[in-house]
């Protein structure tokens, strides 16, 4: 039997010490990338997994965060630290706007509208070249600094800790929300919308709230992504970015919040591992696709399910088998 709080504490300690053990920017960079994607995957899970809202435009909130940071820092001279929270607010506002038409719809229609929204964002970014740099994007985004300490010149140590802290904070907040009465109500709406309505639950409001909440960490991650890479590029809105994050979400286990975050780390590492074999060329993407399908096929609940089995095995055997009607 594994002690869960202990396992979490050990994992956190490992993450804190890791960059000190593993020198050099490469591995730190991979973790930074993984942490940023973990925020996006976990917050997407809040709507898609936990609330059952078929939001497929989540990547738009991320992209808006990226471009908010890019535009404000390069064109308005706003401090990069400051744009991180601002991007969260901008994304939340965007979520509010997209919610209006979306929440009246259900199922696949929500998929289509939200997906259309993310495509629309891409079109707007591409067409407003003077502001967004169009297809080329925005370069020379200033990096984070604390007085004279430049985060761009420390072998990515500073960014490692900033993104680690931000992602832990965001994920902790998301988990807290998932466990709050609001989060439980969202699950109730997902599990059984008609029953939820019959208990006086205003689904539109719950969905709206969750959509807006989930946009905030996503926008924040987008801003940090932009500042870290020092570029805002239209690829963040692309189909492949969406697919990548969605993979993390489902492989991690929809609705579990932490699962997608852990999967983000795993998938970034696996896909980077495959890069060690340049001869694979495009077949590495094929291997990943097969892997995804196998996970979905044999572990329907994703990593979260595997870990739940691991942690709960002893508890289950004690005899909590539910009574069944004869």
């Amino acid at each position: 039997m594994i002690n869960r709080p202990l396992a979490i504490a050990a994992a956190l300690l490992l993450l804190l010490l890791l960059p000190l053990v593993l020198q050099g920017p490469y591995i730190r960079h991979l973790f930074i990338l993984a942490f940023l994607f973990a925020i996006v995957a976990a917050s997407w899970d809040l709507t898609l997994g936990l609330t059952g809202l078929f939001n497929f435009g989540h990547i738009a909130f991320f992209g808006l965060g990226v471009y908010t940071a890019g535009i404000l820092t390069t064109q308005a001279g706003v401090d990069p630290w400051l744009v991180i929270p601002i991007a969260g607010i901008v994304a939340a506002l965007a979520a509010f706007v997209v919610a209006a038409p979306t929440l009246r719809l259900r199922g696949i229609y929500v998929v289509l509208v939200t997906f259309a929204f993310s495509q629309l964002c891409l079109q707007v970014v591409m067409s407003q070249g003077d502001l967004t740099g169009g297809a080329g994007g925005i370069v020379r985004v200033p990096s984070l600094r604390i007085s004279d300490y430049n985060f761009a010149r420390d072998q990515r140590l500073g960014y490692y800790y900033v993104s680690l802290v931000l992602s832990l904070a965001c994920i902790a907040a998301l988990v807290a929300i998932a466990r709050s009465p609001l989060g439980k109500t969202a699950r109730a709406v997902r599990d059984n919308p008609e029953y939820a309505a019959a208990r006086g639950i205003d689904q539109m409001r719950i969905r709206l709230t969750m959509l807006v909440i989930s946009a905030i960490p996503t926008g924040i991650a987008g801003a940090l992504y932009c500042i870290y890479f020092r570029v805002a590029a239209p690829e963040v809105f692309s189909f492949s970015t969406s697919t990548l994050i969605l993979t993390m979400l489902l492989v991690g286990g929809a609705g579990s919040i932490v699962g997608p975050a852990v999967a983000a780390v795993g998938i970034v590492m696996i896909s980077e591992y495959l890069e060690q074999f340049p001869d694979l060329k495009a077949t590495k993407h094929m291997l990943l696709a097969v892997g995804i399908i196998l996970v979905l096929r044999f572990f329907p609940g994703g990593l979260a399910q595997i870990s739940a089995n691991l942690f709960a095995r002893s508890a289950k055997t004690v005899g909590a088998t539910p009574e069944r009607a004869p």
Binding site: H29, G134, E235, M269, Q276
Partner: protein
Amino acid sequence: MLTMALSSAALAAMPALAQEKIARIGILAPISGGAAADGQDTQQGATLAVEEINAAGGVNGYKLEIAVADTRDLGPAAVTSAVERLLSDEGVNMVMTGYASASNFEIEAMAEAGMPYFLAGNSAQTAEIVAEAPDDFPTIWSFAPSYDLYETGIMPVIERWQSEKKLTLANKKIAFITSDNPYSKSIYEGMMEDAKARGWEITATEVVPFGEINDWRAFLSKTRQDPPAVIVNTDYLPGNAATFTSQFLENPTQSLVFIQYAPTVPEYLELTKEKATGIITSTMVGVLPNERAAATNKAYKARYGIDASTYAQALYEMVYIYRDILAAGVDPTDRLAVAKAIGEVKDRVTALGIVSFDPKTHLTVAGDDFMPLQIFQVWDGKRVLLSPARWADGELQTAPWLKK
């Protein structure tokens, strides 16, 4: 999984076998994803050069080796990961690319790591990053020259043809179309400015989104309302250019047709075959009809079965520049010395022009005696260089759809 990634990273970073000194060149290229054709050229051009050099016994006691990093969709995450992978490889002390991203943003990471970085990507973007403080970017060198000549170099040539009676134009009207990317759009705007200053009347303009365009007919119909003597399309994607050509020919007007860059790509010629005969194009990062280019192309075709594109030729030249630097005794691990030696290359004849560097922008110098603005006409599935005169291998002919 993590340990796997770590251990193989460590493996990759292990010093090569002791008995043979290896100088590894990092190549950034989009091996998978939408730009994979360019990525293939980039990789193959470099590989050919390395194979030749090694077959000739290496250079100054070193064998060359290539480490390719895939920039996938050219997005920030993929590019930066590829850059970091190369930077983490202790054997890599030189990185080259055709282009690694749309904005060349990776230049900053390369500069911070002190890595010699030789790129042929959009020089306007490179200059935007480097030119403000070139001393902060001692290791960054662009094989592509400044693109300013595109804006002012083409209209004079057209007017010269007219005055030399090689070309009869019915009027002094011109129509422009571009796709929305920094490269095409700045050429579009610059050429339009130049045409206006020279007294041309602009009859139609349009900006199309960057990406695959399947229907140019709307713009072509617009031009037909008031047929201009010249139609300029500055979109640079070969597939789009092929579609543009065939749709123009469905109902051609009496116009000289100029398409920026794309017709210099071998695929364009292959796809359009004799259909494109008469089309005018220009490039400053293009393969000249010189002996060097022909020799490389021959070797390349023997090795890969296709013609060497600009990126293949450019990477081939970059590797040979690097070879000569090592041959001159520069230690490949002394990155600053290698970078400095690149910047000092002077009047070197390559398949793409004569290479010297401008210390202010770190770009190659542009001009007829340096990296020239090459103006071609497509004829029977081949490119005929018309300008500059120094390299020209043919004369302007009247396009088949034009009445003599």
